[in-house]
Symmetry: C2
């Protein structure tokens, strides 16, 4: 059994940065401070982060301009390394894409959970594959989005 799998139990900051840099390189793009910092931070997150959260989180030791964070996030989404989630508060939230993401097609087959208390959004494993809803004639579904709202474990 190849030892390639670093135990997912305790990824260190260094491990995450290495993973982030590797992903950026694989995308065939320049490895820059902001990209590395943003992706590393996203890899460490246990919930989908807003642009604001990310900017604030980086402000401490590796401040990145607001606009640059926006552009990095946009780029990450284009590369399929992250996906963006629209929330009730009209603010985008970003989360790394776990699992394979092929080319341009957004696979993105997992559900989201939005906490009505703290406002945080979490990515859930996967959604029931068989979502059947009656559509009016002529409508063609391309993607399904499932969001649960409630109270997260942290808020109870």
């Amino acid at each position: 059994m190849p030892a390639k799998s670093s135990h997912t139990s305790t990824p260190t900051a260094a491990t995450r940065k290495a993973a982030a840099d590797s992903l950026i390189r694989e995308a065939g793009a320049r490895l820059t401070g902001p990209r590395s910092a943003v992706l590393t931070r996203l890899l460490a997150a246990d919930h989908a982060m807003t642009h604001q959260e990310i900017t604030d989180a980086l402000a401490a030791d590796q401040a990145v301009d607001r606009v640059t964070v926006y552009r990095v996030l946009e780029w990450l989404v284009e590369q399929g390394l992250a996906h963006r989630i629209a929330g009730e508060d009209r603010v985008w939230r970003f989360s790394v894409s776990r699992g394979k993401v092929t080319g341009g097609g957004h696979d993105h087959r997992h559900a989201h959970f939005a906490c009505t208390q703290c406002g945080q959004t979490f990515c859930l494993g996967d959604m029931p594959a068989d979502v059947k809803v009656k559509l009016p004639a002529g409508f063609r579904t391309e993607a399904v989005e499932l969001t649960l709202r409630g109270v997260c474990g942290h808020c109870r």
Copy 2:
């Protein structure tokens, strides 16, 4: 003028206005021009309308201030007469609540369809009642939101 069938299939503008006014009265609130106009327009819509669409639609003969439209919509949602939908474009869309809506609890058990071409959002009948997704320990679901994305009948 050809006699119109009294079937509920073809509600006239007057019918809708009467229905709107009635709903407003039932809510125990003042019947005002803007409220009547906005709700009447919403009743006639076949899709969820944005604040902008509504304002534009009313501009023709019964112009209402932008801010007032916002406030009327907010009020309609509070009264359970309408519900708001968050879209990918970070713009709210409003639609009248079909069926019973009890008190404060948002029942709102239907799915939505968002067209990726024209951007319009439609309310679908209802969603499969049994949506089961594995949640992390301690999470409690209060509401489920299902949105389909694709191309609507009009855009094909």
